[in-house]
């Protein structure tokens, strides 16, 4: 895939507002805060209920999942429906791409079906960027996870969950434990935590599951979980990405749990009110003990619920920005016409 992965401006329109949501990289703090604040407005503060609203009525959103997903796909669909959009989810296993149709032909055909937004998950890093570079100007692209590159909506729902429980992020010490090397979620989380100026970001795991220079991402690396969890406010556990490992990077799952699994004893090293997060799917007994996953400090299931509101927020912000841009352009055009008439 030829798309440039570091093209942050591709996702902003000429007014500097979000047009496509491809990666956290290159976004400003105000973009992220707008998403978090808007997500707040979809949730009833007393009941945590997320009500259906009519703002995307008449818009068509297509979910293209080229890679399996349960949580992300379902929460995207629910979010789209709660915004009253028309939703089509493509079953890729039986689709034309299996019959040899190129990605671009698929895209143009779906666009001809009057899609206003594509939500894309693909095993290839850069797939969402590639789509964003080729869609018509009025069509928007959301990245639901591309290869090992980015999973920005997951990162935003994690930021939302942290803020809901712990308040402003800039005061917090956050530890991310597990397979950092293969995780697009972790990349996006670290970028979001940095933009929101978290006090300290730690990554914990075996060297074989770390990038060569984790410090380059602005994080502190610990190969000892007990040392790394000391006094943190937030613990984010990450799944072992077995499907992305090309060689044996850990001796065994049992060994991994022994060295890096989150047990009640290790959790006790963090602050007493620390929260435990996991983007799912969780592997009980591999990276997390059941007692912790189901315990009082776990907010894993709330992450899933908040994922609906955060995805609703990003989609409505994108459509709102498009509306404001169109309004701005028509005002500019009217102004130019006026000037021309005056000159004449």
């Amino acid at each position: 895939m030829s798309a440039r992965l570091t093209a942050p401006n591709l996702q902003l329109n000429e007014l500097g507002k979000i047009k496509h949501f491809l990666t956290i990289e290159g976004l400003k703090q105000h973009h992220l805060l707008e998403i978090l604040d808007t997500a707040e407005s979809f949730i009833n503060p007393k009941t945590n209920e997320i009500k259906k609203v009519p703002i995307l009525r008449g818009k068509t959103i297509m979910n293209l999942f080229f890679e399996p997903s349960t949580r992300t796909r379902t929460t995207f669909e629910i979010a789209e429906k709660r915004l009253s959009a028309d939703v089509a989810s493509l079953d890729i296993a039986t689709s034309a791409t299996k019959k040899g149709e190129s990605l671009l032909d698929t895209l143009w055909n779906l666009q001809a079906m009057q899609a206003d937004m594509f939500v894309i998950r693909h095993a290839e890093s850069g797939a969402a960027h590639f789509f964003a570079e080729h869609v018509a100007p009025h069509v928007h692209v959301m990245n639901a996870g591309d290869g090992q590159h980015a999973h920005p909506t997951q990162a935003m729902l994690d930021m939302f969950t942290i803020r809901k429980h712990k308040g402003d992020i800039f005061d917090l010490k956050v530890a991310i434990v597990g397979d950092v090397l293969h995780s697009r979620v972790v990349r996006s989380q670290i970028q979001a935590l940095s933009i929101l100026e978290a006090r300290e970001i730690r990554v914990i795991g075996p060297k074989t599951l770390m990038p060569t220079h984790p410090e380059a991402m602005g994080v502190h690396y610990y190969d000892d979980i007990e040392e790394g969890l000391r006094d943190v406010d937030v613990i984010i556990m990450v799944r072992l990405q077995n499907e992305r490992m090309k060689s044996a990077l850990i001796p065994s799952e049992k060994e991994f749990f022994k060295l890096f699994g989150l047990t009640p004893k290790r959790l006790a090293l963090a602050k007493p009110d620390a929260i435990v997060m996991h983007p799912g799917p969780i592997n009980r007994g591999v990276e997390i003990d059941s007692e912790v996953a189901d315990g009082p400090q776990s907010v894993i299931l709330q992450q899933v619920t908040y994922g609906i509101a955060v995805r609703m927020a990003i989609m409505s912000i994108i459509m709102s920005n498009a509306a404001q841009l169109a309004q701005h352009q028509s005002e500019q055009a009217a102004l130019e016409l006026e000037n021309e008439e005056e000159e004449a």
Partner: protein, 170 residues
């Protein structure tokens, strides 16, 4: 500049007195205020009438009909109706009835919660002659001409100032 300050508290008290004489008061009504200034008016009415159920609050920003032109209003907040709408008699309160579009949005939102038995519309100020949709209020604090410039501030104290732009320009 001609500016008229209105005694809002007296108007609201008079609106409450009017409501008391209406049949809906015998039907255990529940009250909803439209954010932002409608809630301020509703809160005073709610206190005055001593309604037993908490005041409901709706934010109609997600129900506006101009989303495709103006996008999201950044001040939007969640609606909070802490009881069932179904089969209830609702008193819907806003500060100003103008084009009628806000009331259209509010009714749509209310019907998304359930089917009320009835809705009685109460407005502090009714801007006559500038309706774009066919709505009329059941209880009106005061009617004003469409060309007046109007500013409602609050919640404490709740004030309304009216200026006459035509006189203003003289």
């Amino acid at each position: 500049m001609s500016q008229l300050n209105i005694d809002v508290n007296a108007l609201i008290e008079q609106m409450g007195n009017t409501l008391r004489t209406m049949p809906i008061m015998d039907r255990s009504p529940r009250m909803i205020g439209i954010r932002t200034a409608g809630v301020w008016v509703a809160q005073q009415l709610h206190d005055q009438l001593q309604l037993p159920d908490a005041l409901g609050v709706i934010d109609i920003n997600f129900y506006r009909d101009d989303f495709s032109k103006v996008g999201i209003n950044p001040t939007v907040m969640p609606s909070d109706i802490p009881w069932e709408i179904e089969d209830q008699h609702i008193i819907l309160v806003d500060d100003v009835l103008y084009t009628g579009r806000t009331i259209r949005a509010a009714l749509n939102e209310i019907f998304d919660y359930g089917r009320p038995a009835s809705v009685t519309l109460v407005t502090l100020l009714d801007r006559k002659g500038c309706r774009e949709l066919p709505f009329q209020a059941d209880v009106i604090g005061m009617s004003i001409e469409c060309n007046k410039t109007l500013k409602v501030s609050g919640p404490d104290p709740l004030t309304v100032s009216l200026t006459d732009p035509e006189e203003d320009s003289v």
